[in-house]
């Protein structure tokens, strides 16, 4: 369908950027609504960042606070790095959604509320007192702009003669809201209509109903008297090119496929489902035509061990999990360390300790990645900074793993995994080739020594099927060169040092740390890693506008560190390290360089806001 630009008396205002938070019951289709708006907005040319936030329960009790599902979406005609500290528009489907999310709304922000979600029962379920009328409360009406609309009723009416039951009709509620918001932000309905047509290809009645409601919502905006203004957010000045929208777990899956392909290896992915990592498994399992072998193992130990077996056989073995599952893999990762085989361990971090907050985000597994094994077992650690960056970062992790014959940790988190942003995806041909380091089978001058190394300390990879290269490896300490079992004291120390040095030497094969933003020296360096990128970036951009002497650098490589890290740190009076944990990178850097870096820590299961980082930098500059 073509959405004709309606002739209307309503005015259109321009906005640089907008944050909308859709919130409702987990059954209300909030995630779908958010995703649709995201995609449409991406096609519109805006820069975007999203953050879905759903309850740990599959279907938490309807109407309660625990059951609230949210989707926050920040888009603009300027570069966007986070889903937004707070929102301009809060769309709430029921009372619980309002109660849970009102603190996130900006002063003078807009509330769009589904009136029928505020009936007696809904108020009670949300835990309001018996006589409460939150939408009427002074405290609300004086601070925010409220638009009530009876979404439920209007949806039912729209479908009055569809022949559908009430329950079925109610399922389209979210389309009404979506249509309305499309109107409000002058978007086009095409993408969503196409989506509906594909999704329900076999159920034309459902397509028709949803499209009808979607349009009804759009037209409601146009015709209703309450709404006098719509907004226009211009396309962002993004680099020229072709874009798509991508979520972190998707990007991770694609990065793995690409790396295997670029190394000419089979990809074997052994995994056991766990939130928020499961979607990597789901995505990979759809791409069997790339020769990807996904193996849903009986547990995390089997998952990583199967990946080790695959790597021994000459594939790129990969496994992913989240905190508790990674803990289970520790012993096997130790084995892989001493075997010196390629292996990728993906940790999509979530709130801990223990089962913790399964659906929330956190960065508290860095210690585990660095130190969570018995014995001296250092391994490279690479972290993604944002959903789309997961592609490049995991590709890098795989490159290091394959080229240096070493297991590598790849750190993502719940925020990256489920967040989405536009991605100017690369051309396959432009991706660097990854060099495998296979031994030469057949007749040889010298016998194959599995633990003979090149100048990078990398051993050759001989795999079953290669003639004359038969050898045995295992978890016992091995003799230098031969790989035979050795209990010799000198040899042990030698091998421990070699494995350590081998990690260190990778520093020669990774780029130096660059200043992402800001002066090359100055008052404060905000040094981040992982998904704090967007918040730090936003904060530093703003601080620089305020002429503060602050810069931002972001570590992708956490082991080994870039060669110039110390130098960079020493160029600033203060180094601030924001982490969504209680300080993990911080003590490592302090201990290594004896630099009195400061931490900024948040452990709430939700990302930093740019404001929090700004405030801390200002405090540091002032003090």
């Amino acid at each position: 369908m073509e959405t004709k630009k309606p002739m209307t008396a309503k005015s259109t205002e321009e906005r640089e950027e907008v944050t909308i938070l859709f919130a409702g019951d987990s059954g209300d289709g909030i995630q779908l609504t958010g995703n649709q708006f995201t995609n449409t907005t991406a096609l519109h040319g805006n820069d975007i960042s999203t953050f879905p936030n759903f309850p740990a329960e599959i279907r938490a009790p309807q109407g309660t606070l625990a059951g609230v599902s949210g989707f926050q979406l920040h888009f603009g005609g300027v570069p966007i790095y986070t889903p937004g500290d707070s929102c301009d528009v809060l769309v709430v489907m029921n009372a619980a959604a309002l109660k849970a999310n009102l603190p996130k709304l900006k002063q003078r922000g807009t509330i769009i509320a589904n009136r029928s979600g505020f009936d007696k029962k809904s108020l009670k379920l949300a835990g309001y007192p018996d006589d409460a009328a939150p939408l009427k409360a002074e405290s609300l009406t004086s601070r925010y702009r409220l638009f009530e609309m009876d979404v439920t009723r209007m949806t039912r009416e729209t479908l009055a003669d569809s022949g559908m039951g009430t329950k079925e009709r109610d399922r389209s509620k979210n389309m009404f809201v979506l249509g309305f918001i499309y109107w409000m932000y002058s978007r086009n309905l095409d993408f969503t209509i196409k989506f509906l047509e594909e999704k329900f290809a076999r159920k034309p009645a459902i397509v028709a109903a949803n499209v009808k409601v979607l349009k009804a919502g759009y037209h409601f905006g146009e015709t209703s008297e309450t709404f006098t203004t719509r907004y226009e957010v211009k396309a962002a000045p993004m680099p020229e090119g072709v874009y798509r929208n991508v979520m972190g777990n998707q990007a991770t899956a694609m990065g793995l496929i690409a790396a295997a392909k670029k190394a000419n290896l089979k990809l074997f992915y052994g995994s056991y489902p766990i939130t928020p990592a499961s979607d990597i498994l789901h995505t990979l399992s759809k791409h069997k035509n790339f020769g990807v072998r996904t193996f849903q193992a009986e547990d995390e130990i089997a998952a990583v061990c199967s990946a080790i077996g695959a790597s021994f056989g000459g594939a790129l073995g990969a496994t992913a999990s989240s905190g508790p599952g990674i803990a289970l893999k520790a012993e096997a990762i130790g084995l892989a360390t001493i075997l010196e085989l390629p292996l990728l361990i993906v940790n999509v971090q979530r709130g801990g300790p223990s089962t913790g907050l399964p659906t929330k985000t956190e960065q508290a597994d860095l210690f585990q990645a660095m130190y969570g094994r018995n014995g001296e077992a250092p391994l490279p650690v690479v972290a993604a900074r944002s959903p789309y960056d997961a592609f490049e970062a995991v590709f890098e992790a795989a490159r290091i793993s394959i080229e240096h014959m070493i297991p590598v940790f790849f750190m993502s988190d719940g925020y990256i995994a489920n967040g989405a942003e536009p991605w100017q995806f690369p051309k396959a041909a432009d991706l660097p080739a990854i060099q495998t380091h296979f031994a030469t089978p057949g007749a040889r001058e010298n016998p194959y020594l599995p633990y003979q190394r090149d100048e990078r300390l990398v051993r050759e990879w001989a795999i079953p099927g290669m003639e004359n290269l038969q050898h045995r490896i295992g978890g016992l300490e091995k003799e230098d060169l031969t790989g035979n079992v050795s209990y010799d004291p000198e040899n042990h120390e030698k091998m421990v040092r070699i494995r350590e040095e081998k990690v260190e030497r990778i520093a020669h094969f990774i780029p130096d740390l660059e200043i992402d933003n800001g002066p090359e020296e100055g008052d404060v360096l905000v040094l981040g890693w992982g998904s704090t990128y967007g918040a730090i970036k936003t904060a530093v951009v703003q601080l620089l506008e305020e002429n503060k002497g602050v810069a931002h650098a972001h570590l992708r490589y956490l082991n080994p560190f870039p060669k110039n890290l110390e130098q960079v740190m020493r160029r600033y009076k203060t180094v601030l390290i924001p982490e969504m944990n209680r300080g993990q990178l911080l003590p490592i850097l302090r201990g290594k360089y004896l630099i009195d870096a400061k931490g900024l820590n948040k452990v709430k299961g939700v990302p930093f806001t740019a404001a929090e980082i700004k405030a801390e930098v200002k405090r540091l500059i002032a003090s």
Binding site: K288, N289, G291, G309, A428, R472, G474
Partner: protein
């Protein structure tokens, strides 16, 4: 993996010193395995031995094939990943009663149900050898060991019953002290397509000597063992003068000289899972009154497609349907937009 070069068992031995105790049953198993390799004529580079941890799990070091001595209990998972990506290899999994049934019980069970085409040699010595003598999940109840000074409390697993419960497709039993039979069954183990489980009674002279004496000593073995063969009646005794018949659902030992003739006996049908379920339950303590003999040989050999075959078929189907994966199409996904 076809016959190519004529080799002897020795060709399959690596140059490593063997570090088992003198008299350990592992030696015999090693020797027969090497000899069977030669007989089959496997190419050394196409064979992989995967093991866990334990005395038995040292096995791969002694084979001049590819080998991986992994971690305790996890060999089934390692082997699964290997076989999934390299279906053409001949993969042998070496494990002990502790490795397979204590720490590794779950992987072992899942391996069996998934039915990867590989061979599992379970060295059962009813003890933890490498850690110097604690009772294992196959030790009889009341076993006195270092960790059970007044007797163990744990009712043991019956490994083959466990395997049947875990949907195994091939279940067999042999012993270190009968190398000829062992060799024959190793061959069968190799031949089966699917996960072949061969439990081998293995004497540990240091920590659990005499555990299988009743099955190996001249004086007792004829009455306490029965060697089953497909299509043959179940007979045993010094002169095969005894047999097993089914009294309803219950196996019963009978004397062939008396009321029963050979035609009354249970005919072994290794493809019959119900019968196999009964056979594996013939697990009496050989020293107990009226104990039935313990069956050796291939107790069950069923057919089921193997995991790697199905996995690779899915991949081929996907390629046939969607074409060889194209990275550019993957990256672009379903909807893109252009700027500039």
């Amino acid at each position: 993996m076809e016959k190519t070069v004529k080799r002897t068992g020795k060709n399959y031995a690596s140059d490593q010193d063997i570090r088992w105790c003198p008299g350990c049953g592992d030696y015999s198993i090693l020797k027969q395995t090497q000899s069977v390799m030669a007989e089959i004529g496997l190419k050394k580079e196409e064979v992989v031995f995967v093991s866990g941890i334990g005395c038995s799990s040292r096995f791969p070091y002694y084979m001049d094939t590819y080998g991986i001595h992994s971690i305790h209990g996890r060999a089934p998972a390692v082997a699964s990943g290997l076989k999934a990506t390299r279906p053409e290899l001949s993969v042998w999994l070496i494990t002990g009663d502790g490795d397979a049934l204590s720490i590794g019980g779950n992987h072992f069970a899942h391996l069996l149900r998934r039915n990867f085409d590989l061979n599992v040699l379970l060295f059962n010595n009813e003890i933890y050898g490498l850690t110097k003598g604690q009772y294992s999940p196959t030790s009889p109840i009341n076993k006195i060991t270092k960790s059970s000074p007044v007797g163990s409390l744990d009712h043991p697993f019956n490994p083959l019953a466990f395997a049947m419960g875990a949907e195994a497709t091939f279940v067999a039993r042999a012993m270190d002290r009968d190398p000829k039979h062992l060799r024959e069954i190793l061959l069968r183990t190799h031949q089966h397509k699917g996960t072949s489980l061969l439990e081998i009674y293995q004497n540990c002279p240091v920590f659990n000597d005499h555990a299988f004496e009743a099955f190996t000593e001249k004086t007792s073995k004829q009455n306490s063992t029965i060697f089953v063969q497909h299509g043959k009646p179940l007979t045993f005794g010094a002169n095969q003068e005894k047999g097993i018949r089914l009294d309803g659902l219950r196996p019963q030992a009978v004397d062939l000289s008396a009321d029963y003739t050979i035609s009354d006996l249970w005919i072994h049908d290794e493809t019959d899972r119900t019968k196999a379920d009964l056979l594996v339950r013939m697990f009496d303590d050989p020293r107990s009154e009226g104990a039935l003999p313990r069956p050796f040989g291939v107790l069950y050999a069923g057919e089921r497609s193997t995991y790697e075959v199905e996995m690779n078929a899915q991949i081929e189907r996907a390629i046939a349907l969607e074409g060889e994966g194209d990275l550019d199409a993957l990256f672009a996904g379903k909807s893109t937009w252009k700027i500039g």
